[in-house]
Symmetry: C2
Subunit: 210 residues, 2 copies
Amino acid sequence: MRGLYLVTDRELCGNKSLTDVVIQAVNGGARYVQLREKNLSTRDFVAEARAIKKLLKPFEVPLIINDRVDVALAAGADGVHIGQEDMPYETARRLMGPKAIIGLSVETWEDVEESRKLDVSYIGVSPVFATPTKTDTKKPWGLDGLEKIKSVSRHPLVAIGGINETNAAAVVQAGGDCLAVVSAICAAENPEAAARKLSGIIETVIRERK
Amino acid sequence: MRGLYLVTDRELCGNKSLTDVVIQAVNGGARYVQLREKNLSTRDFVAEARAIKKLLKPFEVPLIINDRVDVALAAGADGVHIGQEDMPYETARRLMGPKAIIGLSVETWEDVEESRKLDVSYIGVSPVFATPTKTDTKKPWGLDGLEKIKSVSRHPLVAIGGINETNAAAVVQAGGDCLAVVSAICAAENPEAAARKLSGIIETVIRERK
């Protein structure tokens, strides 16, 4: 896995529809889309996930659902992203099957060590920087922390938390294979342009890194 | 399906543990247990469901999970109860399999007619009476409404909402095959005695009804 990874936040989309932000992000180069919904009913979440899945299919961009394995299964999504308070990894893998993308957030060094034993698809390094969009997260890892995780981890790293075009290059340099962004795209005036800029930075720096 | 059906509410349990209330209810004759959790993390909900499933197994009392198909699958629960805002019935059936208990709440006459086409395990008639434990429900069906649903429905009826030992007999008379209770057991000083009394009423009146 590598590239730009959009995590949605319907509130941050403001006047723009969520669908529109997703399509613009993908047109701008986002390679993964994660739907994160904390306040929708199950019925509405399933309906939304199905609509977004249909929309992403022609782009071959995988749809990942935050936390809710039931919604992922109902919508035929490609994977789930789970945090330390979500379903245990082994259970999610059993329910989602061997081909599903399953990402796991690590918030402490203990989580990092634990994740080495697991056959996860990627690790979400969360948060890299302090961020206003998630309030339940632990102390930021910083670039040092990201680098340290990269040196021990056998999984791709998806960096999340406070990433924007001013720090994206540094995050990739420090070991981020994917950069996950929320407000940098959802709250952007022009999500497509924002996605294009971020995607470009990631591609350039990953090539240099190799 | 027939008999007493416990729906849990951890806040109403007060000083008693949820586990303790469940075990007492079952000892008192409850034949179905539905776990309803609106504020737990997925991880905690799964852990709780697994613990309760283990506890119910020797009693051969089915465990039903409110709304969350993922939690039901993760815990090996026997079924799910879905409302009109939860996962669509057909999707829940596909994910849970043909043997699962799947109950569906009906809140309007349209829901009742729609439910006749579905292969649901039971219909939740919700609420029969006004109740303080659920605030998102529609106008109460009353005994008249329950009777009317009974006359057209091909599914067992689980009556819920404001049921207690003073009105239980009338609810069974009107067509309730199961009586689902929340506060009448969770908030009871002696949940086992409360369950025994309610179970006794249901058994007696169902026998008379036939």
